[in-house]
């Protein structure tokens, strides 16, 4: 399997992703799935500043990511896919059976969400969406960094 981590993180590509996960996984590429960032070359460049030269940063819209997932999954390099919210990552799983495990890495507080873990706040709808993914056989865990405990979905929904 080439994609070693499918992560939901509303900070998208940041230190925990690049250093925390990227280093131990020896990631060769990171896919940032976000329609707004994909539409802004300037924002892509800002995100690229935080990624070392040996890691390729690929910016993709949701539609592009759905189409390209099989190709990325066949890449000989190890990859990380990051999306900013539950709905985006759920969309990637619709026609792709490659996603076996989803890492909930950081979803911060907003109106309508309640604290589930120190780094995970979910609305009821988001929690239900994660449960639906789990019912389809996808393992959902919350884990901000590799040294933290992988918390099973049942413990935070």
């Amino acid at each position: 399997m080439s994609i070693a981590l499918y992560r939901i993180d509303d900070r998208l590509v940041h230190g925990q992703v690049v250093v925390g996960w990227g280093q131990p996984l020896k990631a060769g590429f990171i896919v940032l799935v976000d329609d707004a960032v994909r539409a802004s070359p300037w924002e892509q460049e800002i995100y690229r500043m935080g990624v070392p030269p040996h890691i390729e940063l690929i910016s993709a819209s949701v539609a592009e990511a759905i189409a390209q997932l099989p190709r990325w999954d066949a890449d000989p390099r190890i990859g990380i896919v990051v999306a900013g919210d539950v709905a985006t990552l759920a969309a990637l799983t619709e026609n792709c059976h490659a996603v076996k495990r989803i890492n909930v890495g950081g979803i911060h507080n907003r109106p309508g969400r309640t604290e589930r873990l120190r780094f995970v706040y979910l609305s009821d709808a988001e929690a239900e969406q994660l449960k639906t993914l789990a019912e389809r056989g996808i393992e959902i865990v919350a884990q901000d960094v590799p040294t933290g405990r992988a918390v099973p979905l049942a413990e935070f929904t």
Binding site: R11, L12, V13, H14, G15, V18, E43, M49, H108
Partner: protein, 126 residues
């Protein structure tokens, strides 16, 4: 510009607050610097905190790392606003330079502070 230049330090955890305390300990207390932490913030919340810290001042945003949530939020916030400038890799020498050059335009103050910060990075022979 009528209002004095403000420095807003944007960091992970408590780095920004500690840097403000260190500058005040060396240069004396002033309102030149405001700390902002990314703790508990998504990009939108951090952007809102930045707006509150900057207020209606011209400002230089000092970021801890040349990437990550602090930079992406600050860069998005400052994009297209000439009254704001961004510097990454904040260190104490950089901030000490800044507090004594607040009469400069933001971009010039940012370059001046960055040069001072760079000069402070050394590997002395021991």
């Amino acid at each position: 510009m009528s209002k004095p230049l403000r420095g807003v330090i944007v960091s992970h955890a408590g780095v920004a607050e500690a840097l403000v305390a260190a500058v005040q300990g060396i240069a004396g207390a002033s309102d030149a610097l405001v700390p902002v932490s990314n703790a508990g913030c998504d990009r939108e919340a951090l952007s809102n905190n930045l707006a509150a810290a900057v207020g209606d001042h011209p400002a230089v945003l000092f970021i801890d790392l040349p990437g990550g949530s602090c930079l992406t939020s600050a860069a998005s916030f400052a994009h297209g606003r000439p009254e704001l400038a961004v510097v990454t890799g904040v260190n104490l020498a950089m901030l000490l330079d800044f507090v004594f050059h607040r009469d400069m335009p933001p971009a010039e103050a940012a370059r001046h502070a960055a040069a001072a910060g760079n000069r402070a990075i050394r590997t002395p022979d021991l």
